[in-house]
Symmetry: C2
Subunit: 387 residues, 2 copies
């Protein structure tokens, strides 16, 4: 089948963007992606967004953004799968190009988490859980993470600072990413002194809600303009799996089943082993999610994912570099834009343009976008095409 | 290219479903569609929904519905384009099957408009407009329709009862649809006495917000099970176009430009003339939208679409039968489910199973799903494959 190429990438800084409208944030990322593509003209727009209908009182983002960018008339739609909205939108764009119905697809993820004019952020995020059975009881996303982390620590005898390595690596890498929300490495003792958000999840175990937009252009290899001058990166595989939305419906809450299924399906489609994956952009909205995602993917046995954080495995020069440009923890977590940030960062890595964050000689990059506690898991494997 | 077949259809009654949860409403439609398909197993679920995050405090419907139906693990995502969400979800399912990445796609539209636990319905619907510039000024969807209708009446000298034929035909047809919200024909004098909702839009010029769910199964012709016993209906064409989200940004507010573009693109793809279209399921959320959609599609010259309502043209035995099973006006307008109701009803027509609503000898059915004042327009043409 035809290769689908990441033919343009763009992103804004992640942070608190109170002075810029949702549509303008998306505009900035789209503009950069189109320029990067060397002049491609998209025929379809897929918008990854999680909470704009609640936080910004704005649904119908497809028509809004297509018009705002001067692309009035093109096909445009919003794709939502909670925190995995960005990954899901990328997959819709991929399918559109694969189908032959669309030659050039633009996928943009945009979210304004911190600057709310509608509902409050906790109330809004709770709509992504099983509202009738979880949110109404007062369970928040961070509360869910705390339940999982506590159980994990109990089952596997994890010490209080057992998860410290996840934010330490993320912040160390974020320091080298000019678009990261936090660009400063943190010291181990800072983790130990951090306030609890929802015991045992401390301030550094939870990724910051943020504002941002990231965009990619997808097209077939034969449609690349002559002006396209970057090393070629293709989508080698795309896979989605789902699990129960409610955490209490799981037989095995510590097994991120959908995360495992999606990784296996993607690896199978790409025809590669786990050892061939050069880096892994996981969805570290919470430290415990990072540990469970490493185990689900097969990088660590059950109950031992946390050890990879402190033994050097996930560092840039480790066995399986993770959160290479800061991850959700240090780059920030701009909701439905997150999966697109992962795609942009993975493309930068595979182009060899990641500067201080570079993973040497990377050929295959895997990224995973999660909605809820891996209730939705979207996995893409990107591959650098050797010249 | 491979034909994509509507291999299963299901729907619930449209109405006020206060006693049944959103997930159970979707369940009922999915169950019927799967049974109708003769045993197909979907690998992917596309959910068309407009306002559940606001009205029902529930986003992340993909994972929720996949699990609730016992299909845990399958790919699942929500597709949103305001009132066109159902049509947009159908298109994503179509692209998924066309791409070869998915063999069997399930597309379900579900909405609970009347039974709100979250935001109020006017506030929620306003998120589908250009919130920063329209909703904050107090402009509602019905207010937009009133502005368009008043201008249209002024420009083209339309009498006060000029639009009466639209609800009259819709209600006459709805009387024959066991799933319609209103199953009773109305008399012309009733229209004249109706209360104003937003002058000149009266009660019968506005479709009722409703609850409901409708589902279709899509697959390739070669994957149909032997048990599938219905006449074959395929998606002959699918097209989407967009216009400005804000009505005030239009150079020509009375030209539903995106609606025209999408119809032309779909006709071109299907390779048929306008005369070959045997019926047209338009998006008659307001009578004025029906008139403008008829003109945009080319069934009437500018300023004369309203005449088709009273001269018999849109009746079941007319030149271009519309709202054949009641349309949005009499079947009801269950938000993001509406586009799927259109698909289910069009398939019933093409199977020759529409009973008192049957359009004799129908081969090509066109349906149009609109978001806002045709800010998004999704058009599908279905075709009965001759045995």
């Amino acid at each position: 089948m035809t290769d689908v190429i990441l033919a343009g990438i763009g992103q804004t800084e992640v942070g608190e963007h109170w002075g810029i409208a949702l549509r303008d944030l998306a505009y900035a990322a789209i503009k950069e992606a189109l320029a990067d593509s060397g002049g491609l003209q998209p025929q379809a727009l897929f918008v990854g967004n999680m909470l704009a209908p609640n936080l910004s009182n704005q649904a119908h983002l497809g028509a809004l953004l297509a018009d705002h960018f001067g692309m009035r008339g093109i096909e445009a739609v919003t794709v939502e799968a909670a925190g995995a909205s960005g990954g899901a939108a990328l997959r819709q764009g991929y399918m559109a190009v694969k189908s032959g119905l669309v030659d050039v697809a633009l996928v943009v993820g945009v979210e304004k988490f911190t600057d709310q004019v509608g509902a409050g952020v906790d109330e809004a995020v709770a709509t992504a859980s099983d509202s009738d059975f979880e949110a109404v009881q007062g369970l928040t996303a961070t509360g869910q993470a705390a339940l999982l982390m506590r159980r994990y620590m109990h089952e596997f005898n994890v010490p209080a600072d057992g998860f410290a390595g996840f934010p330490l690596v993320a912040h160390a890498n974020g320091a080298g990413n000019p678009n990261a929300m936090f660009r400063k490495a943190i010291k181990p003792e800072v983790y130990g002194k951090a306030e609890m958000v929802s015991d045992p999840v401390n301030l550094f175990d939870a990724a910051p809600n943020a504002d941002g937009a990231a965009a990619v252009i997808l097209t077939r290899a034969d449609l690349l303009p002559k002006e396209f001058s970057h090393p070629l990166v293709k989508i080698a595989a795309s896979a989605v799996s789902t699990d129960t939305l409610a955490l209490h419906d799981r037989h095995d809450p510590l097994g991120f089943w959908a995360a495992r299924e999606a990784v296996e399906a993607a690896r199978h489609k790409a025809g590669i082993t786990l050892e061939q994956v050069d880096f892994f952009e996981y969805h570290d909205s919470y430290s415990i999610y990072a540990a469970l995602a490493l185990e689900a993917a097969g990088f660590a046995p059950r109950g031992e994912g946390w050890k990879l954080a402190s033994d050097g495995s996930i560092a840039l020069n480790g066995r399986i570099p993770c959160a290479t440009m800061g991850g959700l923890k240090a780059r920030g977590f701009p909701g439905g834009a997150t999966g697109l940030y992962q795609a942009v960062e993975a493309a930068i890595q595979l182009r060899g343009a990641a500067g201080p964050c570079q993973v040497a000689g990377a050929r295959f990059g895997m990224m995973q976008s999660l909605g809820g506690p891996a209730s939705t898991a979207v996995v893409h494997i990107l591959e650098k095409i050797e010249a």
